[in-house]
């Protein structure tokens, strides 16, 4: 998968690239709108990560340009503003998702994966573990075709762990994924533990396997061979 990162902040661009390369993406970097415009014109990309606040270029113009030469590409718009209006404009112009700074790289990856799943359709939408089946389209969990009742948050949490299987997810990454940009006053990620406890209880009714491992002091890991 070929990704173009358009980000004027060198430090951030480098970190995103490092992370995505590790995840086996083929990455190009554009630090200015001009560079991006040139790269878009000659290369076919699967994903374009675009910081809308470029100093030399109107980010929204760049989307228009890319839609012409790279009509297959998916856009994730990165914004430091998080402004509602930009959000709407971005979606209107065909941005597939948006991320407000600061975001965790894992969250970025999960957005890319979500778009990919949408792109490749149903065959990859069901993830199996043991006799469980997680349907990422219908957003529900089954055990031997028997539906398991999960709350919205429990589903979100479980699917995030499953999709990032064998990777340690820290509490903050999980909190960010579930609560997003909540403007709550406190920053208490311990509620994650409550949800994990509930999910484990529900899974253990069907299966003895301890799918979700606790990583002390950090978070959780979904283990599967």
């Amino acid at each position: 998968m070929r990704v173009l990162i358009v980000e004027d902040e060198k430090g951030l661009a480098a970190e995103i690239k490092e992370f995505l390369v590790k995840e086996e993406f083929n990455c190009d970097l554009a630090l200015t709108g001009k560079e991006a415009s040139d790269l878009i014109a000659i290369n076919p990309y699967d994903f374009i990560l675009l910081d809308i606040g470029l100093p030399d270029y109107n980010g929204l113009d760049l989307i228009k340009e890319a839609k012409r030469s790279n009509s297959e590409a998916y856009f994730i718009v990165i914004t430091a503003r998080g402004e509602l209006e930009d959000k709407i404009k971005g979606f209107d112009l065909g941005a597939d998702d948006y991320l407000a700074k600061p975001f965790s790289l894992l969250e970025l990856l999960s957005r890319i994966q979500a778009i990919t799943r949408r792109k490749f359709g149903h065959q990859s939408s069901i993830i199996q573990f043991g006799n469980f089946a997680l349907d990422t389209i219908k957003k529900h969990l089954e055990f031997d075709n028997k539906a398991i009742d999960l709350t919205k948050k429990e589903y979100k949490l479980l699917s995030y762990l499953v999709l990032n299987k064998n990777r340690v997810l820290d509490r903050l990454q999980l909190t960010e994924h579930i609560w997003g940009e909540f403007y709550e006053d406190d920053y208490d990620s311990n509620y994650i533990d409550v949800h994990i406890k509930n999910i484990r209880k529900k899974l253990s009714e069907f299966d003895e396997t301890n799918w979700i491992k606790t990583v002390r002091g950090i978070g959780y890991k979904f283990e599967i061979e």
């Binding site: 951030l12 965790s104 006053d185 509620y191 949800h195």
Partner: protein
């Protein structure tokens, strides 16, 4: 110093005017009768002199014999009208003396003692001296004087009334621009909402005052905008470096060779960075509200928001083993506002209630009070000390030892309320609980 009640400027001026007029009137009350008296006497005397002239003319043309019979024993003539208001008398004088006086004197006419103002004048005719006396009764003079006095007082009263009314309306007219300036200031609850149209006045002082206030308001507005922009810019600029640090930490964490002790330290840093992020985002949101960047045109159903918040916050209630009581009035009408902001408002209030409640329940009610939509969030928590109540909406005020809160939740809630023109009230009793009441505008 005596504590006088504070009066309006125009009332004071009117009062002063009235007082000065009363003083003048009192003075006139003493002076007018005297003047009127003087005028009447002079008038009467003039009348008497004129009559004397007529009598002398008559005597000259007709001869003294016409009036006085030389053969009679009493050489005198008298004439008076039946009401005894006036009399004219001519008599021969024995001695040759010259008399010319006007004085008060009493006469007996028809056995009645009558007081007269009498003009006595001597003339010489045919070698004899005669005394002419013309009198006018005091009663008549007094009646005339009374009439004059009455008229004078009426006139005085009328003048006072007219000038008083004129004074008051002129003061009102003069002070009108001043009142307009005060009204303009009173209607200004935000520097940007100040009405910069010049007040129409021909009074230099008020024009000057208006100009000075406008200058001041411009300065305040500039300072205000600068601060607003400053917060917005700082928050915005902070998000990019935070983003870089967070990405770096994420990349470090994905390295599986890192020892556990280092992992925990990195987690700690991430946690701190997370707090910083929330803080900056909240500040940014507050400054965006101040910049009026959110539209208030959505039709929002408050009950739906309450239910959404309740669903969102369920896990926190569960984790603290509290009860969430919801009592919704289904007849409340939709509100104009920003759904996202209202969600955050209610979320923050409930979140705050949960944080300070260890046992019992959190209650959310919607109701109609005087045709206005009211939302109440109450709890059975620790309560707020009375001395802290006025400060709970201030930024970075935190009255508990809770480490994971930075005191922006209620400040943001207040901002959202102000932006929506929602009245927010707090009542609290220590160890019994706190209630936030939101009253929405009609």
């Amino acid at each position: 110093m005596m504590n006088l009640p504070k009066l309006k400027f125009k009332s004071k001026l009117a009062l002063f005017n009235a007082l000065s007029k009363i003083i003048i009137v009192t003075a006139l009350l003493f002076i007018v009768p005297w003047i009127v008296g003087e005028i009447t006497i002079r008038d009467t005397d003039d009348l008497l002199i004129r009559k004397l002239d007529q009598v002398i003319e008559l005597v000259d043309s007709l001869g003294i014999d016409e009036y006085i019979n030389m053969d009679a024993e009493i050489k005198a003539f008298g004439s008076y009208n039946i009401l005894k208001e006036e009399f004219i008398a001519i008599e021969q004088l024995d001695k040759d003396t010259s008399i010319d006086v006007i004085e008060y004197s009493q006469r007996i006419i028809d056995n009645e003692l009558v007081e007269y103002r009498v003009l006595s004048y001597s003339i010489v005719k045919n070698g004899n001296s005669y005394l002419i006396e013309i009198g006018r009764s005091i009663t008549t003079i007094n009646r005339f004087e009374q009439n004059l006095k009455r008229f004078a007082f009426l006139f005085l009263l009328l003048i006072i009334l007219i000038t008083f009314i004129a004074d008051v309306s002129f003061i009102q007219y003069l002070l009108n621009p001043f009142e307009q300036i005060v009204k303009k200031l009173k209607n200004t609850n935000h520097p940007s909402s100040f009405d910069y149209t010049t007040v129409n006045t021909k009074t230099h002082d008020f024009a000057y005052l208006d100009e000075t206030i406008q200058g001041l308001m411009h300065k305040i507005e500039d300072a205000f905008n600068n601060e607003r922009e400053y917060i917005s810019n700082v928050s915005h600029e902070l998000l990019t470096p935070i983003s870089i640090i967070q990405s770096k930490l994420d990349n470090i964490l994905s390295d599986k060779t890192i020892p556990d002790t280092d992992l925990l330290k990195i987690m700690d840093s991430k946690h701190t960075l997370g707090r910083l992020t929330k803080m900056v985002r909240t500040l940014l949101m507050m400054s965006r509200i101040e910049n009026e960047e959110y539209l208030l045109t959505e039709k929002v159903n408050l009950n739906t928001i309450v239910n959404n918040v309740a669903e969102e916050i369920e896990d926190k209630i569960e984790a603290k083993e509290l009860e969430l009581k919801i009592s919704l009035n289904n007849s409340i009408q939709a509100i104009n506002g920003n759904e996202n902001l209202l969600f955050i408002l209610i979320y923050n209030l409930i979140n705050n209630a949960i944080r300070y409640t260890q046992k019992g329940y959190i209650k959310i009610e919607t109701a109609l009070v005087n045709q206005r939509v009211v939302l109440i969030v109450s709890d059975t928590g620790i309560g707020i000390l009375p001395e802290n109540l006025p400060h709970i909406f201030s930024r970075f005020r935190n009255f508990s030892n809770q480490k994971d809160s930075f005191g922006l939740g209620l400040a943001l809630a207040k901002k959202i309320c102000d932006y929506h023109k929602i009245e927010i009230e707090v009542t609290s009793k220590i160890d019994q609980g706190t209630a936030f009441t939101l009253t929405f505008k009609k």
